[in-house]
Symmetry: C2
Subunit: 255 residues, 2 copies
């Protein structure tokens, strides 16, 4: 049997509202296929549905920008209220220029706009809404994992992912921002290669590779396919956390 | 029918030697499953088998390091002969410190050691061999594409991939270094989201996301599973090239 990984977009997940029970929506979608989760399956969630279920939206009409946001608005040409929200989600600004703000998010990763998202949040005539990232995506992933493991009596992994731009290369890619029951970074140090030599590549960004894979089937049209089942992950599940992925600033040559 | 992407490691690919006909090896492996390629399939190749088939190995015992390599060896503690080879593959050194050399490869991307690889090349008692990247990975991908399209009478994509470290995040991920018949970067600018708003994410690193996905099933043990079939890519194939992925230096805030 060849090694095979299958990424299946979970069908029929409705537009998510604050307070919705996400595990129930995932289970209902799986029953629609129908498909039972089994040991080793990994469920990958777009951050957007997690954030929406957790009520992480802010109406820009209620935001009064502070002086840092006003200065940054002058430099970048972006909405000062949006920048105020972004700065509130950030540990610091890493780079800025007209049209672009790259920050260290409070959660520790580097990304544009602190992951604050204007698209797919509107459609509400009663405000000018933006969506923040989940407050603790590892915890969001853990809650989903517990609920699904209890329902399916299987050992599962869960990722919460977003799309990030990168240094050096064009185009965004899916990356993990929350991890539960899954090795965020796979440590192969000491594993022999085909000739018995030590491997060159020793730490694999496992959660990020799976996030990128799931991102392909999610597409970018927001909530259309916001959850993906990954079946056939060829390693053990193990444990992991977003923290494993974050390179400490003192070890990072590129910020 | 749910959107589904399947990544299948092609079985039974032997250790590749210089001069081997890679398309023949891929076709033989597909016949072993058995599986016929169809319109929309993408074949993903580890750079290592492409480089080996193209004879891109160098015996370090034949290398006389120049002064730049000797200076870099002093700084980094790495083998001066290896550094001489790395510098020959590079447009310039981006960062260096003990144990680490990050360069702009002549092909335009930023990576450690110019992709020059010591593991899985030895097992040859007659030298101390390292493997360079393919000379023109887009062309390597194009040759494979032509051969497979002719054989299967189908419209196919081909990627040549490597594992790269990244700024800010731990762990390597699969990235595309050669592209044929595939949109390296997917431009969704102007596409509406679920509410009719313009999308936040507009340029998707499609080839890199698929490279990361294929990298999962390849594993890191070198040539064990060096080729992967991706079936179910949910967009049109289109055309693309490594150049589409490379962010021009003047647009790059992180080098």
């Amino acid at each position: 049997v060849p090694v095979e990984l299958t990424l299946t977009a979970l069908p029929g997940i409705p537009l998510v509202q604050a307070g919705d029970d996400l595990p129930e929506l995932i289970i209902a979608s799986l029953e629609r296929i129908p498909l039972r989760l089994v040991d080793g399956d990994v469920v990958v969630l777009a951050q957007k549905i997690v954030s929406k279920a957790e009520g992480r939206r802010v109406d820009l009409n209620t935001v009064v920008p502070g002086s840092e946001a006003l200065n940054l608005a002058e430099e970048t040409g972006k909405d000062a209220r949006l920048l105020h929200v972004i700065l509130g989600e950030s540990a610091g600004v890493v780079r800025s220029r007209p049209g672009l703000v790259i920050v260290e998010h409070k959660l520790g990763f580097i990304c544009a706009n602190a992951g604050v998202d204007h698209s797919n949040v509107s459609g509400h005539p009663d405000g000018d809404w933006v969506l923040l990232l989940p407050e603790d995506p590892d915890a969001s992933a853990s809650r989903m994992r517990s609920a699904l493991e209890n329902h399916f009596h299987a050992r599962l992994g869960v990722l919460v992912i977003d799309s990030h731009g990168r240094a050096w290369r064009n185009g965004t890619v899916g990356v993990a921002i929350g991890v539960a029951g899954f090795p965020a970074v796979l440590d192969l140090r000491g594993e022999p290669d085909l000739y018995g030599d030590a491997l060159r590549v020793t730490q694999v960004g496992a959660a990020d590779e799976l996030a990128a894979a799931a991102s392909i089937v999610m597409g970018q049209a927001g909530e259309g396919r916001p959850a993906v089942l990954a079946r056939g992950w060829p390693y053990s599940l193990g444990e992991g956390s977003l923290k494993d992925i974050l390179r400490p600033e003192e070890m990072d040559l590129f910020r």
